[in-house]
Amino acid sequence: MSAPVVRAEGLDLTFATGDGSVHALSDVSLDIGRGEFVSFIGPSGCGKTTFLRCVAGLETPTGGTLEVNGMSPDAARQARAYGYVFQAAGLYPWRTIAGNVALPLEIMGFAKADRRQRVEEALALVDLGGFAGKFPWQLSGGMQQRASIARALAFDADILLMDEPFGALDEIVRDRLNEELLALWARTGKTMLFVTHSIPEAVYLSTKIVVMSPRPGRISDVIESPLPAERPLDIRDSAEFIAVAHRVREGLRAGMEAL
């Protein structure tokens, strides 16, 4: 196996707040290989988002080591190692969809012709080719989130960090976007780190499921998915799928009982 894309070793993070300190991450060790699709699941306060933010260099761990592409998270960010998708699309209302996707490219100093081509490719990847000239308010919530994924893909980073990207969408839209995300992952071969609080979503998408539990935030189980790479939506009714989902649920329950 090649060197891991993300390597965490005994990661610790304590937030100092007004009424005492919060132990957000405790002794988190995890290796993520190239091209894996890793979901982080757990109740709120389990540190799944915090871990993602540490990988992105948005939070600084108070202990342990964390490497992204063999570099510190800050260096990895400077090297444009990852694209980040937030829970809300966060598109700029004053920019068209194409303008929003071009935003990281402008900041990173891509040439204008290159920008136009990359925007076109990124929008095609999320099936928004015909909406380049539209403003965000003219698109549905699901389409806005797809545009924000295109924005994260535009500069072709190897890693995609997604923090509950479909959490605010309804079940039907979410199913379709999950299917599209898998197709996108298969086509691009990117390494995915995906935070969710939905068990079916985690099982359906992932090659590896990291179950986390709160107070302090820690990993309670890591499940390598036995599901095949090709996953139609109805795989969710298969015995294998249900078995994995059951193990995730057991892991979540064990984490809660340990409190």
Binding site: G57, R77, Y84, P93, W94
Partner: protein, 331 residues
Amino acid sequence: MSDAPLSAPSGGIGRSARVAAVARGMGHRAGPVVAVVAVLVAIWYAACLPMNVGNTLLQAERAGAVVTPEGPAARRQMGSVALMAANPSLLPGAWSLERPRLPAPHQVAVALWDGVAGQSVTSARSLVYHAWVTLSATLLGFAIGTGLGILLAVGIVHSRVMEMSVMPWAIVSQTVPIIAIAPMIIVVLYSVGVQGIVPKAVISAYLSFFPVVVGMVTGFRSPDAMQLDLLRTYAATRAQIFGKLRLPASLPYLFASLKIGVAASLVGAIVAELPTGAQAGLGARLLAGSYYGQNIQIWAALFAAALLAAGLVGLIGLVERGLLARMGMGQ
């Protein structure tokens, strides 16, 4: 004849429905506005009667009319209402006095029209001339105040030290009555050789920078934490964060500030004309009117100032609508 009762009502219904639709459309907008204006004008006309009754009876007596009671000395002992009740037929004279305490609306309208359209625009009697004098100082002061306000807001958003050292002074500056500080600013500037339009513009800027600072600080800070995190993941510089996010996000706040700021600028320019005995400008017109007891002139100048302010605010509103629509933010 037999089908007339049938066709006539149907035609009538069609027409009345259309009329009703038009009336509803008007009724939602113009109707209440017109009604409010009508009520205000009526109150104004009514208020002229008690305000001007003494003067009215004096004029009438001099012109040979019979006034009860006779003689100004006797009337001075009575209240306005009693005088009005004693001389009902003479009351309409209160709306056409040459030097009323409170001029009637039509007198002000005539003076305003005469001042705007009836004079050469270079004449000292022209309200256009005086309005231009004030407007030029207003616009210069507004430009200075807006520029200064935006600069201060940029500094305050980017520097904690600047926020703690500038913001309290900006707030204190607005608690000092402008009428007290305006003469001092003019005297100080005069002593260093600055006069003419600049001192007026400085006072104008003094009033208009504050709403711009407050509005723009809020506007520059309007992007939420997620938006800022997103730009951090791109390793954006502070200048890029400002140019790509904070500045465009602040535009709706800017226009709200500009509307308050431009009205404050006009007030500043008028106030600046008062303590200096300025020869020209709407402030000078107000002052001259009060020296010579020309209340009609005062009211005409007041309305000219109000119309000017409304025009400036409306102009900013137009620019706002056009710009925000072009940016995709117009609703």
